[in-house]
């Protein structure tokens, strides 16, 4: 199938409110598909993998496009573009983890088009922003005919292309928790070229006690290491309550890499390579995050 034109005909909607979008979704159900940036969906449609009869463009809904902060965290509307995330001074200053992950995604052109909600809902295991969000205990906010509900992002992502949205629902917001005081974060991506999908993504957060011991840690690995990202609670448990020294960090990195389940047919690297490289990247990320706990404001 060629990629020059879109073969399939569809009816096109541009709702201006969330409730109008939900009404359209409820009416056409499985025949309707949501589009935001379109950088993944239109490729699949060109290749004939998806043939929606109704296409619902969310980009005219102003209520879905925002970056705001409240007392406990950061709200990002679902159709906020990657470009808007990397251009946000608030995110660069207070959520460097999200800035780094957003900047690691795609190219300038793709970041100008692609949205955070589209990236999450497309649920490809190599996505950059979900590991970073999970390291900040992010929550997915969902709207449907029966009202709103929330779900930890970790539970929202169920597998390759699989998310916890029910028919007629849409993702409206991701809510990332502000890192507590004495926190440091880091995001590292390994890929063949900057524009390529990740061979491996690592997002970590460490939060220290006043006495310097680790109060809480998050170690999240993505990039085709399983059906979705892997949060290593084993690595986190090893770090918790301890003073973070290099041998311990190495042990945690080892534990995280032992949890990976890359497919033998993985395109970008062999499973063995991913497991080896994970040890290195998790260690580097934890050391960087630890260093950043000392920086005070910058986390």
């Amino acid at each position: 199938m060629g990629t020059r034109i879109l073969l399939n005909d569809f009816e096109y909607f541009e709702p201006e409110t969330i409730s109008d979008a939900i009404t359209i979704l409820a009416k056409y159900r499985k025949d309707a598909k949501l589009i935001a940036g379109g950088t993944d969906l239109l490729v699949d449609m060109k290749k004939g993998k998806i043939k929606p009869k109704y296409l619902v463009n969310l980009m005219k809904i102003l209520d879905l496009r925002y970056i705001t902060k409240d007392k406990r965290g950061l709200r990002i509307g679902a159709t906020t573009t990657f470009r808007e995330i990397t251009a946000s001074k608030l995110i660069k200053r207070e959520y460097p983890l999200l800035f780094e992950a957003a900047e690691a995604m795609g190219t300038v052109q793709i970041r100008n088009m692609a949205t955070i909600g589209g990236n999450i809902c497309n649920a490809i295991p190599s996505a950059e922003i979900p590991p970073a969000l999970v390291a900040l205990d992010a929550v997915a906010k969902i709207a449907g005919r029966r009202g709103e509900r929330s779900l930890p992002l970790e539970e929202f992502l169920m597998g390759i292309g699989k998310i916890a949205l029910k028919s007629g629902e849409l993702l409206t917001e991701v809510y990332a928790r502000s890192p507590p005081p004495r926190s440091g974060t880091a995001f590292l991506k390994l890929s063949r070229t900057t524009a390529d999908l990740a061979t491996l993504n690592v997002a970590v957060r460490v939060t220290l006690e006043k006495n310097g011991a680790c109060k809480e840690a998050r170690v999240v690995v993505g990039g085709g290491v399983g059906p979705t990202l892997i949060r290593s609670k084993k690595a986190e448990a090893l770090l918790k309550g301890k003073v973070l020294k290099e041998p311990l960090i190495e042990k945690a990195a080892q534990a995280a890499s032992a949890q990976l389940k890359p497919r033998p047919t993985s395109i970008r690297a062999s499973p063995l390579y991913k497991i080896e490289v994970c040890k290195v990247l998790v260690k580097r990320a934890l050391l960087k995050a630890l260093e950043r706990t000392k920086a005070g404001g910058a986390r």
Binding site: G2, T3, R4, I5, L6, L7, N8, D9, F10, E11, Y12, E14, I35, G38, T39, L42, V43, K46, L55, N57, M59, R83, G106, T107, V108, Q109, I110, N112, M113, T193, T194, A195
Partner: protein
């Protein structure tokens, strides 16, 4: 069902009637006859179809024409002519940054978007700005040189 859209392209207001599955790239090339914008991969990876929408580079092969309604679009034809080339175009020719030329329109538009915001970019910033534009001839060295040269000249002119 067809939809009426209206946008400004290279400073000219255009009204068009398009099917919802029309792509901006094909409208630009076939309906408007502006063939400087190229069809490369069709999947948003090569950047040959790059145009500026409201000043920002996007891939027109993955943009629905209906979604370009009320936007401002710039293609390579909108920034300079053979008689009066844009500084980037001149620098590309002088530096030897053009070989087969297929990537050049997209490359120049990505570079323009960069220089409009950042008149004095570092080499790394230039590389990041054109990471979405593949060139299979030059190896990028001359392209980066050309962008630096154009940046220098454009800064000089503003002073």
């Amino acid at each position: 069902m067809k939809k009426e859209i209206e946008f400004t392209i290279n400073g000219e207001r255009r009204k068009l009637i398009v099917k919802p599955n029309e792509l901006l790239l094909n409208v630009i090339r076939e309906d408007l006859g502006l063939t400087g914008t190229k069809y490369g991969c069709g999947t948003g990876e090569c950047g040959a179809c790059t145009v500026l929408v409201d000043g920002e580079p996007v891939v027109s092969c993955l943009t629905l024409a209906v979604a370009a309604d009320k936007k401002t679009i710039t293609t390579i034809e909108g920034i300079g002519t053979s008689e009066n080339p844009y500084p980037l175009q001149l620098a590309f020719v002088e530096t030897g940054a053009v070989q087969c030329g297929f990537c050049t329109p997209g490359m120049i538009l990505s570079a323009k978007a960069l220089l409009d915001k950042n008149p004095n970019p570092t080499e790394n910033e230039i590389k990041q700005a054109i990471a979405g534009n593949l060139c299979r001839c030059t190896g990028y060295v001359k392209i980066i040189e050309a962008i630096k040269l154009a940046a220098e000249r454009m800064r000089g002119r503003k002073r």
